[in-house]
Symmetry: C2
Subunit: 183 residues, 2 copies
């Protein structure tokens, strides 16, 4: 049940319309909580019905018209409650590790190319994160808010670093496996 809170967080940071939220999810919050525009619109409806957000008075509500939302005090309170509440970590689900395990029993034929592709994607994501770090967190920018946000970004950077290293290692390992095509 995190999507409504992801949206509340985004809206507290800055009131937005559904599409603006969708774009912001693609760029920043979506790095650790992705959502499609359909999910977002549906959830905005629920949040409004619950009295957590409201449409900004200025905009007239018509289909195809921009409709911006802002967080109400009740929404902020709910967000604070959820943030402080204890939550059990959900078990991981990683198809790539699963495939590696499957490869151990049915053979590694064909998986290598995809591993390379994933490696490229993770390298690309890592570069993007490092770009953001350089841009948004230059030395000196260390208010409480900045420090916390930087911490979150660091998690992203470290995770991508892990994946690039792990995938590199996996590919090296493959190269040493008997029956490997060295051409």
């Amino acid at each position: 049940m995190s999507l409504p809170h992801a949206i509340l967080t985004a809206l507290v940071e800055k009131p937005s319309s559904g599409l603006e939220l969708t774009r912001r999810f693609d760029r920043s919050i979506g790095y650790f909580w992705s959502a499609t525009h359909q999910q977002i619109y549906r959830e905005l409806g629920k949040l409004e019905a619950d009295g957590f957000i409201r449409t900004l008075p200025s905009a007239q509500p018509a289909r195809g018209q921009k409709k911006s939302y802002e967080v109400l005090p009740a929404g902020r309170a709910e967000l604070a409650r959820w943030t402080a509440a204890s939550q059990d970590p959900k078990p991981h689900r990683d198809p790539l590790l699963l495939r590696m395990r499957a490869a151990a029993v049915v053979g590694t034929d064909g998986i290598e190319a995809d591993l390379r592709r994933h490696l490229d994607l993770h390298r690309w994501q890592l570069a993007e994160y490092e770009e953001i770090e350089k841009r948004d967190f230059p030395p000196g920018k260390d208010s409480s808010q900045d420090r916390l946000r930087h911490l979150v970004l660091r998690a992203g950077i470290d995770l991508e670093t892990f994946w690039t290293q792990w995938l590199s290692r996996a590919l090296e390992e493959f190269a040493e496996l008997p029956g490997h095509e060295t051409a």
Copy 2:
């Protein structure tokens, strides 16, 4: 669509009943692809209907009776196909990072205790993985299968190591935040 393949992998490794599979998921495959017994039973039914697995002839099928399954050639072929097929990485979803970001806007009150709890859980999991590594992958055990399985376990170890480090750092960071209770 990974659960059926997770089950096929487990069954290729060793034919099992639904409950045995459930237990094995709790111990090993579940570390990166968790599943409840209900999911497993449902999926076993589908896999049987698809002709990928069959019940071992010996057992008589009655409710409350053990019913073991084994993988048929078609199942093995499907597993090989899936393993080799290219798959796009699914976007992450991490509630803890989301909460940290929310904490940046609504304050860190109350989240610290849960962070400590998570740190303990990750430390515990890390210790378990290291135990398994010592037990199952002593030096010298390095057939192709062992190397691949070890690689998967290494991913688990490295990820837990990352989380323990990140959480420790987050807690240090908190201690330096203005308004932090030092008692």
